[in-house]
Assembly symmetry: C2
């Protein structure tokens, strides 16, 4: 089938990917826009993942203040080049992440960074709950495992469903940005303050 | 001498203090506005310090982003009442502190919070420098003490000279806000990110 200029334009707008790649993707996918988006996403992510070892020292430090000063978020998100970091797409992405953190209150960026003592305490609570509700001992571990999976989606930013579109996780949003930029993208660190809630 | 309404008005605008206190201050100071400001400031600080034990759980969480996303600061500053926290004076004060932190890069809020290992390292460096420049052993301690005083004004936010007016320390700015509001004011915590400078 013929790949028209308007199809290429639509795909470019959806993905931010260059014209030649869009043309190729549409050819591969028989002109189906949705399939071509997936194709480019996978290809883009594959490229970015290959670059996983490359330095990500550019990006943006941004903030978001909620409720006129009740909640504040500071975040650093890295890309490989200053060029990508300065695009409107990247700024919009960073803004979405800061607003998400204000609303969803994650403990840390990824599940590997959750402190061991918090994990142990959670596991103990779930095990005790299961025992007290009379579950047989041999399935306690399975129950705890299931509960912990849910806990990760509440505690780890990358595992959280995006508040503005719960069908996507924050990791999905990052994957999209990696596909768009062809660069490795990392949420390096964040801090969230709630007024009167300091841990001192 | 007569204390006119316009004198009281001028003093109120300068200090934010109530009418009756302004009248009294002007009487005590023979109608001299500048002296009356000092009088109220001292009195105000005294009042606020008496309240030192009172809970400060109101205030503002605010942020400042410098250089389009190169440096970011998040700060929590507490007052006793939401009323004080919402005034323009307080917002201006908070803004000044966040911008100061971005520029002056303090290690922590007060000198008591500087980690012991950093202090030890500093002391060692100063002692070594003094010895290597041939200073006699008996005055090394004195030299180190002097250098540490300077280090505190570089490392501890409250001891730092305010970047917009180095005649005042940050503690002086806080004292002014305590005088204006008659409330205890505390810089609770801050975080400063510089792009690409994470400690991970």
């Amino acid at each position: 089938m013929d790949i028209t200029a308007s199809m290429v334009k639509e795909l470019r707008e959806k993905t931010g990917v260059g014209m030649m790649d869009c043309k190729e993707a549409l050819k591969e996918c028989g002109g189906e826009i949705a399939q071509a988006v997936d194709y480019l996403r996978k290809k883009g992510i594959a490229t970015a993942q290959k670059r996983g070892g490359r330095a990500t020292s550019e990006g943006q430090v941004q903030s978001y203040i909620h409720g006129g000063g009740k909640i504040g978020v500071l975040v650093e998100i890295n890309s490989e080049t200053d060029f990508s970091a300065k695009t409107d797409d990247f700024s919009e992405f960073v803004k979405n992440i800061t607003m998400h953190i204000a609303a969803a209150n994650p403990i840390c960026v990824d599940r590997e960074s959750i402190p061991e003592d918090i994990l142990e305490k959670e596991k103990e609570i779930y095990a005790t709950q299961a025992r007290e509700s009379g579950k047989p001992e041999k399935i306690i571990d399975k129950i705890v495992e299931g509960k912990m999976k849910k806990f990760y989606t509440e505690a780890a930013l990358l595992d959280q469903p995006f508040v503005k579109n719960p069908d996507l996780t924050i990791q999905d949003l990052i994957n999209e940005m990696m596909a768009k930029t062809g660069e490795n993208i990392i949420i390096r660190r964040f801090t969230r303050y709630m007024l009167g809630d300091s841990d001192e």
